[in-house]
Amino acid sequence: MAVAAAERPATAGRLVAALKDAAGAALLALGLAVPILALRIDQDINNQPVLRPRWDDVALAVALVFCARLAWLLLRWARSGTAVAKPRPVSSGAGGYVAARAFAIVGAVLLVLYPLLMLALVGRAGAIKWIDNFGIQILIYVMLGWGLNIVVGLAGLLDLGYVAFYAVGAYSTALLVHNLGFGFWLCLPLAGIFAALWGILLGFPVLRLRGDYLAIVTLAFGEIIRLVLINWVPVTNGYAGISGIPKPTFFGLPFNASDEGFAAVLGIEFSPLHRTMFLFYVILALAFLTNWVTLRLRRLPIGRAWEALREDEIACRSLGINTTSTKLTAFAIGAGFGGFAGSFFAARQGFISPESFTFMESAVVVAIVVLGGMGSQLGVAIAAIAMIGGTEILRELDWLKQVFGPDFEPTQYRMLLFGLAMVILMIWKPRGLIATRHPSIFLRERRAVRADLVKEGHG
């Protein structure tokens, strides 16, 4: 395109323009950083508030913004020279579907082998940390993400109070254990049932609401449940929480060093690793169960009704679908899986308190579902691994202390980076990481459809 090339300014001119743009961004960063970053409110020895200047931090932040903006501009410039804009295909054909399926199977196999791989890579002492902090922690969020995906991804009902059902599962497990002496394996299904009942109870009043309003009401319900947990001290023990929740047993064999323990009965040497690995496989099985149920439900009439509801509620109603029962089943089943996850969480931690069930948890799970690509099981799993694993890995970055000095604590930037990642990912891919739809009903050939062609929630 000769015309386009002629219109393009000379290289030097573009470089100056890029520098100017980056300088503008740096100026904005300076304006934003000075009021909050430059002076820190501290207390002196007399406990009087004083201001401590930190202009070096401001300079660092401004320099960082300048470099990042310049790098981004130059990268975009370099790309625009080579890439030719071509129309994106409506669907990726059968190939995309097969690739996604193969990726999912490889991922599942890797997950099953993960504890053994870790054992081989870092040895017994290191493996516990990697299986517990990364494996189990991430899988809990994968399971929560898949559970919420039924409500948000399939039925299109934005639920910002999902943590309420997680809390119901955890607290019903703790209370059943302490008041009735039930074991974990009896509590697990009961916790799921209780959470599902709460899902119906809280879903019933919000049937008329959609979109942002629904999100805010569910947020209010989640907060109400947390505040009740804090203030209903005789039952929930308030802020102090409930401790002493027993760990799951292996067909009645506890994982301890006693004679009736798992290790003694099998005649092997006792190691805390057994319990960690067992917990890993329990949550993996629960997560796979969630996934399997969701995939099966999508092919049932109820699953198709959910997806129809997500695309257009009025059309759905005109076609004779009972939207009340459709919404309530989505709430109930999603909540039930949240309850399972909560029950597992209580048993794994051995201690629960309202601190674990703040709005932040709901926001994290919603972020995982939306960033993964609403409705995509694989996308949700990838988003959970990226977001939770990414923030967990900050705990391992002790070498940064050698770069930034001993005061530097990478973990305190965990949620800061999480929030930033949410914004950046949304702008980069508003439809989520995996933005294709795999219709469960198709003509001749299974195709993946690009999600931005689907208008949803405009009922």
């Binding site: 009021p35 201001l51 942002d212 009401v217 109400i224 932040m360 939306v370 999480f418 929030g419 929630g457």
Partner: protein
């Protein structure tokens, strides 16, 4: 009875602060139909900006009359908070305009997490004490066993709120800026065709909301005498409740809703249970949205197919 009047005064003071924050929610929702989830954290940020500004003026520059210092802080905090809100809208929301409907909400939640953690990282997780300002008390009525009194800062809060709301109301009703805003609220496409710069108008809406949130932030800092990085979420949700209760999109509604929420919260704490005061607010939010989605003064939303 004296006790009731005392609570009435306290409730109205608290309600003015909620009303100021609620205007930011209601205007943004009115113009682009989005719940600006980060607005509560912008408010929290402004409490810190106000406190730092005040400390700079009193400790480093020795600005003597406190009233002058407070006036400079008010203007400065409004400007700096507006800059933050402008940047947030430009970077996190504008690229998502016209995208699918959940994208801006998720981006706003991310921004809210980012802001509260930014303040935690840069200013530390502790409560920061603010200097005592205008805490003298005027006794209005001396009863037998209980007196009704109003502190200078309560008078200050209500007075500043009334003056700024009047100025704001004038801007929205009688200036070209306000006309552009109301035009965008009714029909963005048509307003653009008639030569209204829609993007600039939306930016301005965020800026005005943030400026009022900064006023609320300064007043909140004076009233409670302490600021904390986590103080954005709960006042934010309460102010949103106020906006919804008054009818979202309606400016007088936001102020009315703020006053009602302030009164309900204070009365609930005074007569029922202080532990469950937030439960009361959240329940009002849920009940209003379920049974009266258009609020007290709002227009009912007609759904077109």
């Amino acid at each position: 009875m004296e006790y009731f009047f005392q609570q009435l005064i306290n409730g109205l003071t608290l309600g003015s602060i909620y009303g100021l924050i609620a205007i930011g929610y209601t205007m943004v929702f009115g113009i682009i139909g989005m719940v600006n989830f980060a607005h509560g954290d912008v408010f929290m940020l402004s409490t810190f900006i106000a406190l730092i500004f005040l400390m700079v003026l009193t400790q480093l520059l020795w600005v003597t009359p406190l009233a002058l210092a407070l006036f400079i802080v008010l203007i400065g905090a409004m400007l700096l908070t507006s800059l933050w809100a402008w940047a947030i809208e430009r970077l996190a929301y504008r690229p998502l305009r016209g995208s699918f409907r959940l994208a801006p909400l998720i981006s706003a939640i991310g921004m809210s997490i980012f802001l509260s953690n930014l303040v935690q990282v840069t200013q530390g997780p502790r409560y920061k004490p603010a200097p005592q300002i205008a805490s003298d008390v005027v006794t209005l009525y001396q009863g037998v066993d209980y007196s009704v009194s109003v502190s200078h800062k309560q008078i200050l809060i209500v007075a500043v709120t009334i003056v700024l709301l009047a100025a704001f109301w004038y801007i929205v009703q009688n200036t070209a800026i306000g006309r552009a805003q109301r035009a965008c609220e009714q029909d963005r496409k048509m307003a653009a065709l008639l030569g209204v710069n829609v993007n600039a108008t939306i930016s301005l809406t965020f800026v005005m909301g943030a400026a009022l949130a900064a006023v609320a932030g300064l007043l909140f800092m004076i009233y409670y005498g302490v600021v904390h990085f986590n103080d954005g979420f709960t006042p934010g949700v309460k102010a949103f409740t106020a906006a919804v209760l008054g009818g979202i999109g309606s400016l007088p509604g936001a102020v009315l809703g703020g006053l009602l929420i302030g009164l309900i919260e204070t009365m609930w704490s005074a007569y029922f249970s202080i532990d469950y005061k937030d439960v009361a607010t959240f329940s009002i939010l849920a009940i209003t949205l379920i049974f009266l989605p258009s609020g007290l003064l709002g227009k009912p939303e007609v759904e077109k197919v």
